[in-house]
Symmetry: C2
Subunit: 194 residues, 2 copies
């Protein structure tokens, strides 16, 4: 296990983020405070997840003296348009039709907070879907869980396996946590060691 | 589950390939025949895994009438040099030092055989390691299993999580099976349907 300077709190309920942080060798507890996921309308798309990650960390800071807080937010952007979690199976189908045969961007914003010090960064990955057939979209929406995922897909699920031609950037960033950049940042901040 | 025209045999003992094929929704049995993993010295690096995948499928063909055989081989290439499985912890450390702060290529060759028809392809992914510290290499080699992996690393393991900056191409190709290309090829050959 990696040696932590302070106890670590992961401010995320996502089982995928929890698994990635465990696989990176870190021990942590989970604590979240619900925030309003709103952001200034003039914010650049890539800055939205940083803004939201910061909000999530700031909500926890008064409760976490001498603890490292890690929070994150991931968005899917098709050009200037942010694709959130679909509200229905029909909306999930429309999102996947929109993503088909195109490249889109996945941005994860991360905030590391320790006492009053905040460090944030955003990591970008380009993801390219092949031309998805309607039968493939239907199969995925019927048999899997697109509703809890931004952009209506999980890269580690069936549609990611059979439908994603290529990515450019960090794979784990698309899963939900840019582990390499996070590890390096924690190390450079002198918060972890081997 | 995906509908298969014929029963499917995966000619690979790799638990990672088996998991990926299961996640892609295919049912299969596992059958392998050991082959000599030699190839003509004048073969282009990217063609080596195709050559070996073909050999693996051909060895099984007499035993697999009316069955689909899928075989695969994955290599790690640093320029013209093929990195195989390291023979010792020291060799693993040297390989990771060589890969550090550079991009390398991962090629997976796949062979699909049904009766006497063979289809092959190769998929290429570029993988970039950040500058690995000696302590990180030591930690990985001591705590994980680099010896059974070409190039001495698994992208889904600790060193992949904290050490791989970016990839360009298919992630699952680096894990060991280019699932998207495989699925599309099987579909175009009319061997699977939804």
């Amino acid at each position: 296990m990696i040696i932590l300077k302070y106890p670590l709190i992961l401010a995320s309920k996502s089982p995928r983020r929890q698994q990635l942080l465990r696989d990176a060798g870190m021990e942590f507890t989970i604590q979240t405070i619900p925030i309003k996921e709103s952001y200034p309308k003039d914010l650049e798309v890539s800055q939205v997840p940083v803004y939201l990650a910061r909000k999530k960390a700031e909500a926890l800071m008064p409760l976490a003296k001498d603890k490292i807080i890690i929070s994150a937010d991931t968005i899917v952007a098709l050009g200037p348009r942010i694709l959130g979690k679909p509200g229905s199976q029909e909306e999930a189908q429309r999102m996947l039709q929109d993503l088909s045969a195109k490249s889109h961007m996945v941005y994860s914003g991360v905030c590391i907070a320790i006492n009053k010090e905040l460090t944030t960064f955003v990591e970008a990955t380009e993801v390219t879907f092949k031309n998805l057939q309607q039968s493939e979209i239907d199969y995925y929406v019927q048999h899997y869980a697109p509703l809890d995922k931004a952009g209506a897909y999980g890269i580690q699920e069936w549609i990611g396996l059979i439908g994603i031609d290529k990515i450019s950037g960090s794979y784990f960033n698309v899963v939900g946590l840019p582990v390499c950049r996070l590890y390096t940042t924690l190390r450079d901040l002198d918060l972890i060691s081997l």
